[in-house]
């Protein structure tokens, strides 16, 4: 499935918005007003946007610690995200969950786990619920190469295949778990590419290409929605920033600065922008207007977040159990 021009521009806008949100967080992080770990997805925007483009609010995503992209691409509220990073009562989890446990049930984002691999069976179970309830919904599971080390992935994929669940596994292979490369931890490429094609459809794509992600996601999600069972897309990408917090360490402590630069020249946002400009689908003025609107939205989100009230201490023990 190729994208219409209008759609490509819209998805570019979402990627740019996501990028600029992350850049803003990064630029303000040193002020210590966001007292929470942040795991920026700079360089991985094409994946969340390209995948979530095919989802409705009834579909769901299961996310992880590197959650901002999944959340925003799924339609999660920006104000609530930024407020959450500021630990405010107006945050999407009212300052309880923090950056790694975002939620926006109105758009099908039902929470995320910061235990690596933790969201994999949960997303699989959500797919089972859709199937049992006879709904044509799709559950998308985002997971990283770190999660690919975990046995729970093997258990979940087997079960999804066994029950032909409407789940799409999106493997964001960004080359690193903290400071350790995927190849130092995994003996070979992800083995689930070797499953029988009638059990699970799989594909490897350039995760920094919106078109590639979009096309594969379209196939996978349509398959899931029509009862065709699970699928897995490996998106090869790169974590440009450090594991957590802001900035890029180019001193070569654990990765070659040249490797970082190589990937920076293959940036998903810059690449797509250049392409749209070159093809004349977007001109400099249109781009500036787009960016200005995004920046205004971000300004407002930060302004609102800073102004928002903190949770009340006397509410400390709320939400441990839900009451009927």
């Amino acid at each position: 499935m190729t994208l219409s021009s209008a759609r490509r521009i819209e998805l570019f806008r979402r990627m740019l918005r996501l990028r600029n949100v992350e850049l803003r967080i990064e630029s303000l992080y040193h002020e210590d007003r966001m007292k929470t770990p942040v795991h920026l997805c700079i360089g991985q925007e094409a994946i969340s946007v390209g995948v979530c483009a095919h989802l409705t609010n009834d579909d769901s995503v299961s996310s992880n610690h590197r959650s901002h992209g999944h959340y925003l691409a799924k339609g999660g509220g920006l104000n609530e995200l930024i407020a959450e990073l500021h630990c405010k009562e107006s945050g999407c989890t009212k300052g309880r969950g923090g950056s790694m446990h975002l939620v926006d049930t109105a758009v099908g984002h039902m929470g995320s786990s910061s235990i690596v691999g933790g969201g994999v069976p949960i997303g699989t179970g959500m797919a089972m619920a859709y199937k049992m309830r006879g709904l044509a919904r799709v559950s998308v599971v985002f997971f990283g190469d770190g999660a690919a080390d975990e046995g729970v992935l093997y258990e979940s994929v087997n079960f999804a295949m066994l029950k032909r669940l409407p789940v799409v596994y999106i493997y964001e292979n960004n080359g690193y778990s903290v400071c350790t490369t995927t190849r130092e931890r995994q003996a070979q490429e992800l083995i689930f590419h070797q499953v029988l094609p009638n059990k699970m459809w799989t594909q490897t794509v350039d995760g920094n290409s919106l078109d590639a992600v979009n096309a594969a996601a379209a196939t996978a999600i349509a398959l899931a929605r029509s009862g065709g069972g699970p699928s897995l897309i490996e998106c090869k990408t790169y974590r440009v920033r450090e594991h957590a917090g802001s900035g890029v360490d180019r001193t070569g402590k654990y990765r070659d600065p040249a490797e970082i630069e190589r990937w920076e020249t293959h940036d998903p946002v810059h690449g797509l922008r250049a392409d749209l400009l070159a093809r004349g689908l977007l001109d400099q003025k249109g781009l500036e207007a787009m960016e200005a609107a995004i920046e205004a939205e971000i300004d407002e989100a930060f302004r609102a977040a800073v102004k928002s009230p903190l949770p009340l201490d006397e509410d400390l023990t709320r939400y441990v159990y839900c009451e009927d």
Binding site: S60, S62, T93, K94, G95, R96, G97, H101, V103, T105, M110, G111, S113, I115, G118, V120, P121, I122, G123, T124, G125, M126, A127, M128, A129, Y130, M132, R133, S139, G151, V152, Y154, E155, S156, N158, F159, L162, R318, Y319, V320, Y321, C322, E323, D324
Partner: protein
């Protein structure tokens, strides 16, 4: 809302021999089976899964016939992938189902503790109440026949420690059914630990759909000399012990907690306020187990009532041995409760143990 018809039981029937003679009497296992059957009937969101739920044995009979009645989409076996399946159960609960996930031994739940304790128990809080996890996990404590160290752990102490989980350990079929329905109706993750020795016990169980409040204990026997606080199969041990102690002139009060989380602090403190002496009994290990919590609660909030040290009757701090003679030495019960009671009430005074009454009359053939 299909669950509105399942109403809390307010009348607490008498325990064992004092019950209404006209009441229907069924086994504890059958009471559980009936609760599953009714829950599956009440709400299509309910499903039942677990290794062996469709086996000929039907999980000690608790699942017999359910597959036939409710179909294989809602009653199904699983792979042996405990953490994965626990997460799948959690995910399905998040997305609108009410899973009941059966494990025949709590030992295997340690494989799934990440999903149970790191995820299910915290999801409501982490989402500030936006997302619920109505999940029931059911497992059985075993004992005997060389189950040994990895197949007989009474891990209630482990599970009681995690906020966000509810924990139930029934002693009667009546409670097993009512608490099961309450657990399935509940919107939070609830773990129910059964004890295999209970399955064949027969007692009064109404046919209607009813719930028993989670977190409310019950006094099984009133007494003035000391309180025995316990749960699950140990209630039967304690009941027999109390009968025995009565013959020696020691009048024991017996509190069956039924739930461990939430814990019925009031019933414990009130009982100790009456008796001034406390024995806490459990099949789990002593150190860091549930008896520690109950004892600490009383040492904190019931201190003024205490007239003697708090005694704990538990398994010793060691893995379960396989051999039957060592098993006998390992497991505490009736006799150890009697000894503890004597220590508390008549320190130093030696007394013969009379023939112990047993519950065998109430055991199904």
């Amino acid at each position: 809302m299909p669950w509105s018809k399942v109403t809390p039981e307010t009348h607490e029937p008498d325990f064992l021999e004092r019950e209404d003679p006209a009441a229907r009497r069924i086994t504890h296992a059958e009471a559980i089976r009936e609760s599953f059957d009714q829950a599956l009937g009440i709400d299509t969101a309910v499903y039942l899964m677990g290794q062996g739920v469709n086996d000929p044995g039907g999980m000690f009979g608790t699942c017999r016939g359910l597959l036939e009645t409710h179909g294989k989409e809602r009653v199904f076996d699983t792979p042996l992938a405990e953490n994965g399946l626990m997460g799948i159960a959690v995910g399905s609960a998040i997305a609108g189902m009410r899973p009941i996930y059966l494990h025949n031994r709590p030992d295997f739940l340690l494989l799934a503790l990440d999903q149970l304790a790191n995820h299910a128990a915290k999801w409501s809080f982490m989402t500030a109440g936006a997302v619920k996890v109505p999940l029931v996990i059911w497992s059985c404590i075993g004992r005997g026949w060389g189950s040994a160290a990895q197949h007989s752990q009474a891990l209630q102490g482990t599970f009681m420690h995690f906020p966000g989980l509810k924990l139930i350990m029934p002693s009667t079929g009546y409670d097993a059914k009512g608490l099961m329905l309450a657990a399935i109706k509940d919107k939070n993750p609830v773990l129910i630990l059964e004890h295999r020795f209970n399955f064949k016990l027969i007692g009064p169980v109404p046919e209607k759909q009813y719930t028993i409040p989670i977190g409310k204990g019950v006094v099984r026997r009133s007494g003035k000399d000391l309180s025995i606080v316990t749960i699950s199969q140990m209630v039967h041990e304690a009941y027999a012990a109390a009968a025995c102690l009565a013959e020696e002139g020691i009048d024991a009060e017996l509190v069956d907690l039924r739930s461990l989380r939430p814990l019925d602090e009031e019933i414990i403190l009130e009982s100790v306020a009456r008796t001034g002496r406390l024995i806490v009994a459990d099949h789990g290990w002593k150190t860091g187990g549930i008896t520690a919590e109950i004892s600490a609660l009383v040492a904190e909030k019931g201190f003024a009532s205490l007239r003697a040290p708090i005694e704990r009757v538990t398994a010793p701090d060691m893995p379960t041995p396989a051999g039957y003679t060592l098993e006998n030495a390992f497991y505490a019960g009736k006799e150890e409760i009697i000894e503890a009671a004597r220590r508390l009430v008549r320190q130093g005074q030696a007394i013969e143990i009379p023939d112990l009454p047993t519950l065998e009359e109430t055991v199904a053939p």
